[in-house]
Symmetry: C2
Subunit: 307 residues, 2 copies
């Protein structure tokens, strides 16, 4: 099945207690597509880059089966750049530089093939851009997944609510779910968010796992406790990419396939944080992923011996 991922392709520079990354590739669409490429094969990206983005990195994506035709290169422009420093606990960070560059003028034009994608992942971008993508789709995808963040709730809530009417599944963290709904209880927050449009809600809780809501159904996936978190950058996008990668590959839009998608996404995210940037996601084989998924199965497995 075909999957379209719209998001950023960027340069990152990361400082962690373990070292400095130097300038490496990042961005939500980069992480999500490399993650999804471990599970499904027909992936396209729509994004924007500057003259400075190396062709070999696009070739790397293509070698993973990712169609990069929809990544617009702006001659004379510079690629979106983010520099950040993580604190010792790795759970909080400071942005040292955020240079939007070509992203400031991103006006996505979808290639013909991308308009026919059966699964769509709208990465965390301005709601106006997310809406422009939706309007270019030839038919409604089988599943539209949208990521967003508190920043857009602060400055563009009306536009965000318009996009929400058109999406099937929203991924946000617990604080964002509370901000969006005005409810502290996540159960109540989910009910309010369902009234805004989405039929599914994933609440990402980082080291505490993820929750999937659908109607009255509820699924709680843990995160795997790790010996060392080396670089958390991109973990959320990797999770989302693995999630939709599995749902697309199974071509089954159901609570059951989404539960499996969350486990795959969590497993891929647990690899992502073990090295700087996208490195670990590129070199995985099916055996690595299979073994990690087995660890997730054993992590929550119990037998109540009840009648």
């Amino acid at each position: 099945m075909s999957l379209l991922i719209v998001g950023t392709v960027a340069f990152d520079e990361l400082i962690t207690p373990f070292g400095e990354s130097g300038r490496i590739i990042g961005g939500s669409a980069t992480y999500a597509s490399l993650s999804a490429s471990n599970l499904c094969k027909d992936i396209s990206i729509v994004s924007i880059i500057g003259e400075d983005f190396p062709e070999e990195k696009l070739a790397l994506m293509r070698s993973k089966g990712i169609d990069t035709e929809g990544i617009k290169r702006v001659e004379g422009g510079k690629t979106f750049f983010w520099k950040g420093k993580y604190h010792n606990d790795m759970n909080s960070r400071d942005s040292l530089a955020t240079e939007l560059n070509v992203l400031a003028d991103f006006d996505p034009i979808l290639p013909e093939k991308a308009r026919e994608a059966e699964y769509l992942m709208l990465g965390n971008l301005t709601p106006a851009i997310q809406m422009k993508v939706l309007k270019q789709m030839k038919q409604r995808p089988k599943l539209v997944v949208m990521d967003t963040m508190n920043f857009w709730m602060d400055i563009a809530m009306p536009e965000l609510k318009e996009v929400l009417k058109e999406v099937d599944l929203l991924t946000i963290n617990d604080e964002e779910a509370r901000q969006l709904s005005g409810e502290y209880s996540l159960v109540k927050a989910a009910a309010k968010i369902f009234e805004m449009g989405p039929k599914y809600l994933i609440i990402k809780k980082g080291e505490h796992g993820a929750l999937l809501f659908h109607g009255k159904e509820l699924f709680y996936a843990p995160a795997l406790p790790l010996e060392e978190v080396y670089d958390p950058t991109g973990a959320g996008d990797t999770f989302a990419g693995g999630f939709i990668g599995h749902v697309c590959d199974s071509d089954e839009v159901s609570f059951e396939s989404m539960k499996r998608g969350i486990i795959y996404g969590s497993a891929l995210a647990s690899f992502c944080v073990e090295e700087f940037g996208t490195h670990k996601l590129r070199d995985l084989d099916r055996g690595d992923l299979h073994d990690r998924v087995m660890r997730f199965i054993s992590l929550t497995d119990f037998d109540m011996k009840m009648s």
Copy 2:
């Protein structure tokens, strides 16, 4: 099997966004024993109360099969009292009053029968008192569970470490595990804590669930997301009581029985927070508990369809 619970029997007064409790019974041993009484039948408490503690509340405990002989009543003394106010998010609170009263002179003397208990729960008390209890046991219990908190790490770390050498299982929250071990990663923290004595570690994460560590084995139990948390007081003690209540009832000290214990403890804690104080714990029947455990099973259940 016989279970001894040593901890506080107290008065609480709680102010939450939903209302005020007035003066009600509380304390770690009260919550833990009422919780455990849903699972095992031979429970004794060792604690201390003042003249003001109503006999009818002790009778209520006895009606649940809890032996109260070890609860020393100090004539002319006043019972330990805590008054607290929860903030709107129910996750943080202010202590408005902490009156130790008779607890300040608590010097536990175990009744003959209590000294022979096969399972022992040392509630959150000064490490010196926990050690005094241990020294009075006739033979080493099959399992010694100990609860503690950051306060004792701050003011009595050497004594705390002496007690740790003698216990099998420690229950603390994630911040306390980090403080005790000096490690941010919970996996590394567990390894350090195992060097201090315990062979098992439960890390309580409140609304994010609980982790059980044993050697290289790892189990992650979620907490059930609830529509409303009415009063979180005693949830941790209720969890611990349900946990040891099941392990004692099954008379099986193993990773498998502890996983089940954590699910029972989590289920009982989810009832505890639905009303003020111990109210909900007293009126449960087996059917209520069974239904709640089934919700925990469905909460984390998934089928990867893997070979």
